[in-house]
């Protein structure tokens, strides 16, 4: 059994970065995720593992520091909340284009604009459909507990290198701020420079006489070569859909009605399922753990079994579009959710089940 601690979600993410052997963290404070950089600055991993931690002058600078670090073969992490993630999107697009590994945490708050500082899930489109410019996707993980804020760092690390692609952990103000018991995984040492050069022969660590120079760029002025490059990226995203979809099913085996949710909404929906079952309503929940690649195939299978699906999310309807695309009109699909930083209650969700799904 690993070390047990009571931690905030943001702190669990920070501690997990140190333990996972992440090479560098570059960030900028914004509510509700500033605990990440505060924790790292207090933990001083640069004195133990050599992990670089730096508070940059802006979100823009911090994501571009990540670009530099990743281009040199290192695994960087960064974190922010919605308005700050928008600022990082240019850099994220460049990193996807240059095929660089990265872990990004988005502790989502209400928007648009400066919005508020309460939890929301209104950045789903931005996270799953690219977010920045160009044809690209992020691998998107949605934790629904403080435990997963830690565990998903390890998945993110594996995926970031497997595909040479940025990975986003799409959390929200609930998961980031609440405290829960966490079982921490044992520390993994950071790679030595020799190991970095072996794992990432493409990295800019200094041109050795026995190899060509390494170039990290997202630019190719020849449209035919650029098309080839974009199609190569597309193949990676297709492979993610084949090999790395993650989801969890709760009471779906006999379900007549299905909830689809992720993150803190999925936690709320778990309670709704319990409440429904007490009333004899056969309700189940599919919790999407990866939002891209989306578990659409499994939802389509379940659509053959249920009378209707309710997508529950803290937005006016973003996840629901992917659910609708997945089931292709085979069953009715509805949306329910509070937004702007308001969190729906389990009974509000149950009322929506009765009023929309069972009508």
């Amino acid at each position: 059994m690993g070390e047990l601690r009571l931690m905030k979600g943001n702190e669990a993410f920070a501690e997990a970065c140190i333990r996972a052997g992440v090479d560098a963290y570059f960030g900028y404070p914004i509510t509700p995720q500033s605990e990440v950089i505060e924790y790292l600055m207090a933990a001083k991993p640069y004195e133990t593992t050599g992990m670089v931690v730096l508070q940059a002058e802006s979100e823009i600078a911090s994501i571009n520091m990540c670009y530099g670090a990743a281009g040199a073969g290192f695994l960087p992490a960064t974190s922010s909340s919605s308005p700050g993630i928008s600022l990082k999107m240019e850099g994220i697009s460049y990193m996807a284009g240059a095929e660089l590994p990265l872990i990004i945490l988005n502790v989502v708050r209400g928007g648009p604009g400066l919005g508020d500082i309460q939890p929301a899930q209104s950045d789903y489109f931005q996270a799953t459909k690219g977010g920045g410019h160009g044809d690209y996707r992020l691998y998107v993980l949605a934790p629904s507990s403080v435990q997963e804020m830690s565990d998903f760092v390890l998945i993110a690390k594996e995926i970031a290198f497997k595909y040479r692609n940025p990975v986003m952990i799409l959390s929200d103000g609930v998961i980031g701020q609440m405290m829960e018991k966490v079982e921490l995984f044992d520390p993994i040492p950071r790679r030595t420079i020799e190991e970095v050069e072996k794992q990432c022969p493409w990295a800019t660590t200094g041109k050795k006489p026995n190899r060509q120079r390494n170039i990290i760029t997202s630019l190719d002025l020849d449209p035919y070569r650029q098309e080839k490059h974009v199609l190569k990226l597309y193949e990676k995203y297709k492979r993610m859909e084949q090999e790395d979809v993650r989801y969890e099913e709760i009471q779906v085996s006999d379900a007549e009605y299905l909830l689809v949710a992720y993150g803190s909404s999925a936690r709320i929906c778990q309670k709704t399922v319990d409440l429904a079952r007490v009333e004899g309503i056969k309700l189940g929940l599919l919790r999407a753990i990866t939002l891209f690649p989306f578990p659409g195939k499994r939802i389509a299978e379940l659509a053959k079994q249920v009378k209707g699906i309710l997508a529950v999310e803290m937005s006016t309807g973003q996840l629901v579009e992917d659910v609708k695309l997945s089931v292709n009109c085979s069953v009715p699909v509805y949306h329910f959710g509070r937004t702007g930083g308001v969190i729906h209650t389990p009974t509000e969700v149950l009322d929506a089940v009765k009023n929309l799904l069972m009508k």
Binding site: I60, C66, G68
Partner: protein
């Protein structure tokens, strides 16, 4: 005397450094970029640090600098080169790291990154090429365009009442405690090239000391953007750019007090 009798190592007075690739430069004839590329690569060759040097290319005319320099390089988003360099130098502290940026990249869109990297005293080198215009996008006004100077977005000359003043960012960063060596050079004459190359060598040597950021501005020409031929452009630069951007050292390391 046969040509073979002349081609001997002892008669060699000049050669192209092998650290420049065979790729033809994408710069306009008469532009200073090629010379600046060459002296940087010559210094890297002379110091035998090709395997320890990482460069960052900007957005602008020198966006493809990595095609001409035979070293490991990264290409940054517009204005963000010093953010990349910050991370690389901190993760690989024994390497030499430099950025190569133009005036739009460094002194307009990247002003925050420039000032904060300088102010933190990051231990890399910034090569700043100031030609007072946006060359690559076709001659628009730059943050360093002189008052009265014409560009496609100030076709009647820069009116400082409307368009603001040119930014002397080199003097500005020299004020910051994190800069160690700040100098302004040019490459329009053989003598200027020799001085500029000495400054480049100084920057790489100072870089070993880890005492802060080295910043070299090259006041350069843009004959295409300025709508002149190369000779006219150099003359115009001497008569107009140099009075506003005077050449010479702005901040030189002081000898340690004994």
């Amino acid at each position: 005397m046969d040509i073979k009798d002349i081609i001997k190592p002892e008669n060699l007075v000049y050669r192209r450094t092998p650290l420049l690739t065979d790729k033809p430069l994408s710069y306009c004839p008469g532009c200073g970029h090629g010379t600046i590329h060459r002296i940087i690569m010559e210094v890297i060759e002379e110091m035998n640090i090709q395997d320890k040097t990482i460069g960052i290319a900007p957005v602008g005319c020198s966006v493809l600098a990595y095609e001409f320099m035979d070293i490991d390089m990264q290409q940054a988003a517009h204005g963000r080169a010093t953010a990349l360099a910050t991370a690389i130098k901190r993760l690989l502290p024994d390497r030499f790291v430099f950025t190569y940026q133009g005036d739009g990249d460094l002194a307009a869109i990247g002003t925050a990154e420039t000032i904060h990297a300088c102010n933190r005293g990051e231990n890399f080198i910034i090569f700043f090429v100031n030609n007072g215009i946006y060359g690559m996008t076709g001659g628009q006004m730059a943050p360093t365009t002189l008052p009265g100077m014409k560009a496609s977005t100030c076709p009647f000359g820069r009116d400082t009442k409307i368009m603001g003043n040119p930014l002397k960012i080199t003097e500005l960063v020299a004020q910051l405690p994190g800069t160690y060596y700040v100098t302004r050079q040019a490459v329009h004459t053989p003598n200027a090239v020799r001085k500029a190359k000495k400054a480049v060598r100084n920057a790489f040597e100072y870089s070993k000391l880890n005492k802060g950021l080295c910043f070299i501005e090259f006041v350069s020409n843009c004959n295409s953007g300025w709508k002149m031929n190369a000779v006219q452009a150099n003359k115009w630069m001497e008569e107009n750019m140099f009075p506003f951007y005077p050449l010479g050292d702005i901040k030189v390391p002081q000898p340690e007090k004994v």
